[in-house]
Symmetry: C2
Subunit: 369 residues, 2 copies
């Protein structure tokens, strides 16, 4: 199978702006082409749009606005991991030989309809994700004797890291006390434990090995892909304190890339809520079960940006369809030693973890120089 | 590259039923598994949903309802050719080795939000497709001196053929006079010249060569794929009397399958409106420019079901996200000599043409025994 590389990217600031979805999409795609003038629009075979927005035909619209006449064009939706689903689709188009170069653009507005999963009756009256996040938090705290303060460190660390990310929604730092004193949304969840929906867009361009080597000196290769959907309904999860789909997706991705979690130098983790970061770290084997908050605390106290260097979803904001692509861009920047004050020391292997709907589905990607 | 085959299908009647989208989706998938008990749900690696419905996370929902825990799951949207976009995605997942077996389910409700493209300002006050269809019809008639009566034969033929399709929305036959006397919607378009949105669902299961040969005696192979998006806005079309995206997509598909249009024994053509059938036939090289209605008339008068055997969109109805998949199922049935009274004489090579938004994008597939 031909190797597939990421050869360019564009990203917008994440904001609370009220902006038409077409224009949000265009912003990061235009920046991508501005940053990569060596890429000829005529060579782009496919344009995939990742979004939960209800507007239709967005990929042909983006194509027309950017001056591309692709073969393949459509939108991809899978709630919060739409972005990495699009990247995997782009990968398969290239690896199968149907395309040589694919533009993947994710975009969302702050008022995305993807925040609420109407279908999931197991959420009772509470359709909003804070419902499952509260149950995850309660369950995780009980099972591993973890305190609210220990979980608050996830938010403190990720806000601190987001401050070094010029595109992040947040540019404030907080203490554990600040998190503990922020508005209590449920018994187990405070406002600063939550990522916030926002307006933003992220684009990458992917290419076959031949095209990638022609067009850039430092392509980043996608060497591992893992995906798993265990259910759609939240209560079908086998556990509320581990992430089964994440565990299975990471096993597949690491196996494909012939790596294990110890080889990962930098990772983007889907911290939709504080509890998600330690749970995901444990489910992917970065640390033992119940030890995720210890790992987070250790990283925070040594000022090590290894996990969620751009500030995670909590610090950066969460424009659903753009998130997986923005996470991937961060790992590309890290592997290219181009991450400014967020730069991790000389990383060779990076990982992206992107999930949906109470971890009922997950994508894990392994990226290498 | 590994060959990719279609190994099973399920389809619902196309109706005007008011039914939840999740239940519409489930109907054809359930029928697929009922018809193909040799297929183990545990072996299904990916579930793709094709729809314009605004509900989110439909692929994990369908997966949970059918008892599948796939790796890959998401929705695909590209207005009226969402179905074939999903099929091409499934193809690439299998050909790239990321999946061995993929379920592709398309579904729509009669009130699909995909009928109107709000973004396209070039449609003026008339967002509904009858606007572009009227301009296509006027332009085609003027350029090739074609009469309304000649175009009406498309509707007469396709309604006649739909009568042999137990799943079709229409079960009536009409004369040229009936079409001419049906409600005049615009100067150039009558009610019976139009396909009608409806509720319906269609599912296929695709597999790698090895799996396909294991699981069925008569897989149908996808040997040619062509796709092209020329624009999103209707007035960017270079012509209103030929279909540029269809022409380019068919060239790619025929080249990939090492066939030419003379080799095609049976074809499903995207006749959203009467004028689309002759235009598409000409753009794909089935006949010369301006001669499409002669070909339609010849087929009709000899009772030859070669083009749109199931009754086309005009006779069968047009549940947007399901249409491309339903077209593909018809060709599979034809190639397996399993099309009942619609059966074309011993076909070896079939073609599917599925397009969106005034032919601003097209997919063409070539299928073989």
């Amino acid at each position: 199978m031909s190797k597939v590389g990421i050869i360019g990217y564009g990203i917008t600031p994440f904001t609370k702006k009220d902006q038409k979805i077409e224009s949000v999409l265009l912003d990061s795609a235009r920046q991508l082409f501005r940053n990569n003038s060596q890429i000829n629009r005529e060579d782009v075979d496919a344009v995939l749009v990742s979004t939960n927005n209800n507007s239709k035909y967005l990929s042909p619209i983006l194509s027309e606005m950017t001056g591309i006449q692709p073969k393949i064009s459509h939108s991809v939706e899978s709630l919060c991991n739409s972005g990495t689903n699009s990247i995997v689709s782009a990968y398969s188009y290239i690896a199968s030989g149907l395309a040589n170069m694919v533009l993947v653009t994710g975009a969302e507005r702050y008022d995305s309809p993807g925040q609420i999963l109407q279908w999931d009756n197991s959420r009772g009256e509470f359709k909003h994700p804070i419902f499952w996040a509260s149950i995850f938090t309660k369950s995780y705290k009980r099972e591993f004797s973890i305190s609210d303060e220990q979980l608050a460190i996830v938010s403190v660390k990720n806000h601190k890291q987001a401050k070094e990310n010029p595109n992040a929604l947040s540019n404030k730092t907080y203490t554990v006390d600040d998190v503990m004193n922020s508005k209590k949304l449920t018994e187990d969840l405070r406002l600063l434990d939550c990522s916030r929906p926002c307006t933003g867009s992220a684009s990458i361009i992917m290419a076959s090995e031949e095209k990638a080597k022609q067009l850039t000196d430092e392509p980043i290769w996608i060497t591992g892909i893992g995906q798993k959907t265990t259910s759609a309904g939240f209560t079908k999860n086998t556990s509320f304190s581990t992430m089964e789909s994440t565990k299975l997706a990471s096993q597949t991705a690491l196996e494909m890339s012939k790596k294990n979690s110890k080889d990962i130098d930098v990772a983007e983790i889907h911290d939709a809520f504080s509890v998600c970061e330690p749970m995901a770290l444990e489910s992917m084997g970065f640390t033992a079960e119940g030890k995720g908050t210890d790992m987070v605390n250790e990283l925070h106290s040594t000022n090590n940006f290894k996990i969620n260097p751009r500030g995670g979803l909590i610090g950066t904001g969460h424009p659903l369809g753009a998130t997986g692509i923005a996470q991937t861009i961060e790992i590309v920047q890290q592997l290219q030693s181009n991450a400014g004050k967020r730069q991790v020391d000389d990383p060779n292997v990076g990982l992206v973890h992107n999930m949906s709907a109470a971890a009922t589905s997950s994508t894990v990607l392994v990226l290498e120089k």
